[in-house]
Symmetry: C2
Subunit: 204 residues, 2 copies
């Protein structure tokens, strides 16, 4: 399902978007860029394969280079999609990654994906070896925490229409690529109800 | 409702438990201890008063020295208690504090409280001036994030008995001080149902 790229760990083109993303939050010296390139390894996931399977411990975080993935849970046989990881986003299940506990959440590639992944231990090395590494970690988890709470609240307080409109706002770029089935699951309704909502919105 | 203590900002007895709590996560030099004592200010909240009122922006985080507080939301007039802040715990609503947005959550003193509080801007100073300040921030928010998700999941997946037993495990020290009304709210049931659960558990 996945294979490591054997390329030597030097600053490469593939790491450029990651370095840019990190530099929006903290400064990076040239030596630190080199560390980032060594710690984040290129991995490929085929469409349909699992970056994180159910009950597996999340042992790595990823930066998406191409393709996209969905987050979902298996609720008594019913799949509930609650988020997407797109190019130039980080992907991780902190709930499993931080305490290194088995994950109830699943992260699945919906297209062939190229990721830059970092293991739990290598992330600790990143925090240790990069001057502002802990700041980067703090800022990322702050964003993820706030977004997670927002998403969960939305599930209980927003209408399906509201959630569909939010999906369009946040994922316009994925609209053509994600199936109606997965969008309906994210909105929290059946595909036929989503179809009715889309027709109603198209009329207005 | 609250008043500042005008004591000079030097290492004082009142800051000792806070320094101990910080030192369990990161090393602190003597100069950094001095910074912590200057940035965390003593404040007193009377029983019933609000550390964070509804729709207010959470502009400070606190370390509880004495007394305790509850976290709750006002759900269409019904109060839903979802957590407690006890001595030597940090208290903050990150969901409001990090983005500096109005809070839907409320933090109320259930006893007279002595707190050491730090403003949002002073916390950024702490991150800047303390060598491992960002690491401390990262580790605390990691813990809060995981605990928040655990608490929320528990509300949807655990039985009232299970939640009551969890409350007893985690807050044995508060059992005599917290009213049955607030415990029932935390468990997610009416006080009379809690009374039945307690009788059943006492029999077993």
């Amino acid at each position: 399902m996945k294979r490591k790229n054997p390329a030597p760990p030097t600053t490469s083109n593939i790491h450029a978007p990651l370095l840019t993303a990190i530099r929006t939050l903290i400064p990076l010296s040239e030596a630190e860029e080199e560390i980032v390139c060594q710690l984040f390894k290129e991995k490929h996931y085929k469409k349909g394969s699992f970056f994180l399977a159910e009950n597996e411990i999340c042992r790595q975080a990823a930066f998406v280079i191409s393709g996209f993935m969905r987050y979902y849970i298996n609720d008594d046989g019913e799949e509930k999609t609650y988020g997407f990881a797109k190019p130039f986003n980080f992907a991780c299940n902190y709930e499993s990654f931080v305490p290194q506990n088995p994950s109830s959440q699943i992260i699945q590639a919906l297209e062939d994906c190229v990721l830059l992944t970092i293991s739990y231990d290598d992330l600790l090395r990143f925090y240790e070896q990069v001057r502002y590494g802990d700041r980067f970690g703090r800022l990322v988890i702050e964003q993820v925490f706030i977004q997670t709470l927002k998403d969960r609240n939305s599930f209980y307080t927003d209408s399906p229409e509201g959630r569909y409109e939010q999906f369009i706002r946040e994922h316009k770029d994925l609209l053509q690529q994600i199936s109606q089935y997965h969008i309906a699951s994210f909105v929290g309704i059946k595909p036929q109800s989503l179809s009715r909502i889309r027709k109603r919105l198209a009329r207005n």
